[in-house]
């Protein structure tokens, strides 16, 4: 089997890798935004509970949480399909990290702009939607890119719950061909290529939405 043939087989798994990465990243975005918004709008109690939640999800290893969800929940009657299990573990953990990114971004917003909006008569919700949210998202771009690439780098663990992404293909190939070095170098390169592609893609989006004169963090 030539190197090219190996690459072709491995690339079949790339589709799953991308699916897993984007599903978990989307989950993370939703969760992260939800937590950040809840902390903005909620009172002291909600903030305290969410702080604890974030602490827990940042302190638990992703693989352990995956096992809790995929192997543990069936024991209490909940059968979780593999992709959902990934979203509930990697997605939620990344969401917790994202909520912290958002928290920092919100703190960096000029408070005078918020005051100006309120003076104009906007409600808390409207201020959040029109002033805070757009700026928060712009400030959070580096952090979001970071989280996206982190999700990509933890996606291989999906193979432990049976998802046939690149790493699973690689392990099967190694078992049959015993050419460990070539195969793992190959998937290393594939992941690196996906990583660079993601970075370029996100930077393109960033440029498109950039506001002239807005300071770069």
């Amino acid at each position: 089997m030539s190197f090219i043939e190996i690459l072709q087989i491995l690339l079949q798994g790339a589709g799953y890798t991308l699916l897993i990465t984007f599903s978990c990243a989307a989950t993370a975005l939703v969760v992260g935004l939800a937590i950040a918004m809840a902390r903005e709008l909620g009172g002291a109690w909600i903030s305290a509970v969410l702080s604890a939640w974030v602490y827990v999800f940042r302190g638990v290893p992703m693989l352990v949480l995956l096992f809790v969800v995929f192997f543990g929940l069936p024991g209490v009657g909940l059968d979780v399909p593999p992709l959902l299990a990934m979203m509930l573990s990697l997605g939620f953990i990344s969401g917790a990290y994202l909520s912290e990114v958002f928290r920092g971004a919100l703190a960096a917003i000029n408070p005078n702009e918020v005051l100006a909006a309120q003076a104009m008569g906007f409600t808390r919700f409207e201020t959040l939607r029109l002033i805070k949210l757009p700026q928060m998202l712009r400030f959070s771009v580096p952090g979001m890119i970071n989280e996206l690439t982190t999700v990509l780098k933890y996606s291989p663990f999906a193979y432990t719950v049976g998802l046939p992404e690149i790493t699973k293909q690689a392990m099967a190939l190694v078992a049959t061909t015993m050419r460990g070095i070539e195969i793992y170098v190959a998937i290393g390169l594939i992941y690196f290529a996906i990583y660079r592609l993601l970075l370029s893609f996100v930077r393109l989006i960033e440029k498109r939405y950039a506001v002239p004169g807005f300071a770069e963090e």
Binding site: P61, F67, V68, E100, Y154, R179, V185, G188, Y191
Partner: protein, 228 residues
Amino acid sequence: MLDAFPFVADVVSYWPQIVRGLRDTILLSVTITATGLIGGIVIFALTLSSKPVVRRLTQSYISLFIGTPLIVFLFLLYYGLPNLGVTLSPFVIAVLGFTFNVSAYNARYLTIAYKELDPAELESARAQGFSRLQVFWLITAPQSLRMSVPALTNQAIQNVKDSSIVFLIQYIEFFAQMQEVASRTFLFFKTYLFTAFVYLLLVSVVVLIARRLERRLAIPGMGVSVGA
């Protein structure tokens, strides 16, 4: 939660191997944090080399290890090295793999901190007669390290959590032991929940140490730019 009691009994009966697992997890975490830090300082020093070739190679190294999954590199070592006739214990492979990866991240954090340094201070040290190596040792490294404490301690926390993946290359540590306990007792949910809780405790210990370190090592008047 009366059914928690059989679980507790099970945990107690498997106690010796659980403790062994904990010990091995802590051993691995501490080791890779140390080697990753030293490696990071070395790589960071290389990014400051006067030779452009060295600088470019080092940047590529950092880029490569930050851009690829840690587990892939571990598998590469674990499944690949035997093909070259090199047999190493899982522990050594784990330490090797983690060191390459972690040192790249640490070097990146140090490089970010380095940008905040005042070049006039470095020039002043040269003007006083210090050699390039001395300037690095006395000014560059201390300032960069102290400014990076939050990022470096974050990495230490990550190391503790990431140590849980080494069972995939047959290093038996805490998580591996708990998987065995789970499969023997069939109490998957409780066992893994307990596992998560223990990791949370370990991480919390590191967090406490990290906070104290941050307070002691912060440079007066210098904002911390690299953080969680």
